[in-house]
Amino acid sequence: MTTHSTTPTRNTKVMNRFDLTSRLVARLKNEEAVIGGIGNTNFDLWAAGHRPQNFYMLGSMGLAFPIALGVALAQPKRRVFALEGDGSLLMQLGSLSTIATLAPSNLTMVVMDNGVYQITGAQPTPAASVSDIVAIAIGCGLSNSAWAADEEDFERLIDQSLSATGPTLIAVRIDDKPGVGTTRRDPVQIRERFMLGLGVRQPL
């Protein structure tokens, strides 16, 4: 990666998406919902161990946070996590303002920032060397937003979000490795299983 930037993002440790996703999943004990954004983000969620409360996106780039917001509004007693890539988030920055306005306290957003569109050939995003995602989120009104300095800090921020009074955004610097697994592309089963996992549906 380039090193000419002076934004605080470069002071954080460069971590790994699959490792962080696995650390998050390992901490889930209360049937928390997890929305995995398009591409590598949900591939690593799939690889970290399938759960009925996981939702995997096979398109609609940028909508992990809006979908998670919908789940959070529908089930205010359930903790909802959303995992999104930096490139995806750039497509839907306006959603940060919507979330800040509605301010669901049961929503934790994680932005996996490698500065590239890894899955299409690792081309840099327009934000890669100039924009700070946490500063953007704070500017949108998500005051509870922070960079995770390292893996321990990530776990601490995740735990902290569980008792937050508003939505939390955690940004992590990650390497440019591809996802470890590949989600099975069966949207109807993914959606139905998720609804069963959330207790909205009963099995046939």
């Binding site: 398109g59 959070a72 529908a74």
Partner: protein, 195 residues
């Protein structure tokens, strides 16, 4: 009309409220509000439109609804899709040009995941349009809906409107398929140059 109403019910606050409700039921926006309610659709994100102003105002005023603006129409589609999966029903309000931004989310989320997405689209671009770009983008709407084989209806008459809205919502939910309800200027009056 005012005289008849005075005779029909004394001006108690209760009588007045039911009169207001009755007159609202007879408007297209009153029908939408009441039909959403009857079908337990509580979440209504929107990108505003001039024609939708009264409906949006009344949705905000009614504590039954959680209604709020989003920055983009596809964001609203994502929100109601997530809410549906979490057990909360929703509908999205937009105008024609907003619908034109939705092909990707319809084809990659609502349709393949079988989400009963209910959309109300205030139709601009026809029957008195004054902005050429609006009339062009309007022409893309039905071809997009047809190319995805999506259910859609254009509402032009008040007497049919409740039937269309109520049946379409029920069909969307039972068949787990999206529906677009296009609100023609014939129904709403539309937006004209001198407004």
């Amino acid at each position: 009309m005012a005289v008849v109403q005075e005779k029909a019910s004394p001006q108690t606050s209760e009588g007045k409220a039911s009169e207001e409700k009755a007159s609202q039921d007879k408007t297209w926006h009153g029908i939408i509000l009441q039909t959403l309610k009857r079908n337990d659709i509580r979440l209504v994100p929107y990108v505003p439109d001039r024609v939708l102003t009264t409906l949006i105002k009344n949705l905000h005023a009614d504590p039954f609804f959680t209604t709020f603006p989003t920055a983009r129409e596809e964001e609203a589609v994502g929100i109601v899709s997530g809410a549906w999966m979490g057990g909360l029903k929703g509908a999205v309000l937009m105008q024609t040009s907003g619908f034109a931004t939705l092909a990707n989310v319809l084809a990659s989320l609502a349709l393949p995941y079988q989400i009963p997405l209910v959309m109300f689209v205030s139709e601009r671009g026809t029957l008195g349009e004054f902005n050429y770009g609006q009339s062009l983008v309007c022409r893309t709407m039905r071809p997009v809906l047809d190319s995805l084989a999506m259910e859609h209806h254009t509402a032009t008459r008040l007497d049919e409107f409740e039937f269309i809205v109520d049946r379409s919502i029920k069909q969307a939910i039972t068949t787990q398929a999206p529906v677009a309800l296009i609100l023609s200027p014939l129904l709403t009056g539309g937006k004209v140059f001198d407004k």
